[in-house]
Symmetry: C2
Subunit: 305 residues, 2 copies
């Protein structure tokens, strides 16, 4: 049970020498996800040793260039690497047409199997689940249709409380499956042993919420409540709240307020505007509202266990 989030890029707008547009690699249990894919993401993946073949699901928040212009290059590389596995791409309506046109015009790599999941709902919806993880959209408010994504471990089944079970000699290993399935046990005497006595609750499912880009949007709090790790964009310091409002972005304090009110454990900030030379101010400002705040930086890994 663990989450490891690797920041590949965390700056807004144009790529610069030491500023890489948004992309994150999320390992949650044994599932591996890529979130957003700005220009240069594949190079950042190589730099931070993210195995290309691990990625089967890519989630794109919105179709601004700094969040998806690196996607087609990554797909072409998958083609060059003779990828055979299916690749699932989740993103706003339109992503399929523009991606396929680019691949078609290059002719060479049309053979990779891509399944597009185009999103258009303005409500939070379940868009992915496997045995261990589910992914829900977090509708955001930006200049174009945008979703954040909430990654949550599946609730695990209760574990056997071996010590308590051993108090009942009559209970046999053959009953273990029933106990794991949540059933009570009826002894030959007719006594009912409650499942709660024979099992231990599982650890709390871990979760990670990715929120970029968005204006201050308190109605996402009900979706991301109690999340272990929240990445929330903070394009501006509080001095430019006017510009944040105009461009539909957030300030440090707005992001921190969301974190505080959603009672998350840790907040990670990113998507810094290029106008700021000293990124440490973002942390300082946010911590006035929400103490457990950290800054996204390329290559930094945030773990939850």
């Amino acid at each position: 049970m663990s989450i490891a989030l690797t920041i590949l890029g965390c700056h807004s707008a144009t790529p610069r020498i030491n500023a890489f547009p948004t992309s994150q690699y999320l390992a949650i249990n044994n599932s591996h996800f890529l979130i957003d894919c700005g220009e240069g993401t594949q190079r950042q993946m190589r730099k931070y040793k993210v195995g290309f073949s691990k990625i089967n699901h890519i989630f794109i928040s919105h179709l601004h260039g700094d969040h998806f212009y690196g996607l087609v290059g990554l797909l072409a590389t998958f083609g060059i690497l003779n990828r055979e596995k299916e690749l699932h791409i989740y993103g706003p309506k339109g992503i399929k047409e523009v991606t396929l046109l680019q691949l078609k015009i290059s002719q060479s790599h049309a053979h990779i199997k891509i399944i597009f999941h185009e999103l258009f709902s303005k409500k939070s919806e379940l868009i992915y689940e496997d045995e261990k993880v589910s992914v829900k959209t977090i509708p955001l408010n930006h200049r174009v249709y945008t979703n954040g994504y909430l990654f949550t471990e599946k609730e695990k089944s209760r574990k056997l409380h071996i010590e308590n079970i051993r108090n009942y000699k009559e209970i046999d290993k053959a009953d273990y499956l029933n106990i794991k399935a949540g059933r009570d046990i009826i002894l030959s005497s007719g006594e009912v042993i409650s499942n709660r006595e024979l099992t231990i609750p599982p650890s709390k499912p871990l979760s990670f919420a990715f929120c970029s880009d968005t204006s201050y949007k308190p109605d996402i709090i009900s979706i991301i409540e109690n999340t272990d790790l929240l990445y929330h964009e903070a394009t501006f310091l509080s001095d430019r709240e006017d510009l944040a409002k105009k461009t539909k972005h957030s300030t440090t304090k707005q992001a921190a307020k969301i974190a505080k009110e959603a009672n998350v454990n840790q907040l990670v900030l990113g998507h810094y505007s290029g106008r700021y030379k000293d990124i440490s101010l973002f942390k300082k400002e946010a911590q006035e509202v929400f103490k457990n705040t950290e800054l996204a930086e390329p290559g930094k890994v945030f773990s939850v266990k």
Copy 2:
């Protein structure tokens, strides 16, 4: 009268940590051109201090990702920088549709003025000229429609041979424009002074030929003959001539043979396949055929004066 070619990227296929796909910045007299634009080009431009606002003409050889996936990001950045000047893009038919669709879907930067010049001819044609430079296509042979580009200074007018002119007291400054225009001078005695006596020939127009990607194609020699500087792709060493043929690329020796037969002054190799760790072998092999060979490397500048 000078040419300065800055290599921004010179590796084939996928971007890697220290391998950047094709892009070159050419300054010829006071004109500035970008040639090809693989993913990450705008970051390389910043790294090597190529002013974004200088670029008014971009030439794309073909629509494989490693030659144009960085274009849309650069255009979006031009938009963010509030570029007002017209931008001319030359490239294969299809480049307009795919570029405009990407810009449209991002919504934000549709306001930059782009004039597309879509190419489809299989013959060399003049596609650009101003007072000082002309650009012709060099039809190449690759898996998709591909052109190289030949950049040539315009022939300058002959210069005044002041010393000789002074031998004729009768010749006045008012005659200089006529002399520069190539006219002979008739003295009052009726004697005709030939223009050749009164002028000096201009220096030879400089030229640069960019040839990527292509199989060995000797019929380009007549187009690039006597060029000062030739960039020719060499994806493979001679050991993989089979693979070069199959993928429609060139080997070192094939590139060198073109350089030798076209009687160019200097050959620059690039577009190295990722399979080779030691790039110096490319130079060594090519020099067996054509001595004045150099290797493209990111940041390297090749000058002709």
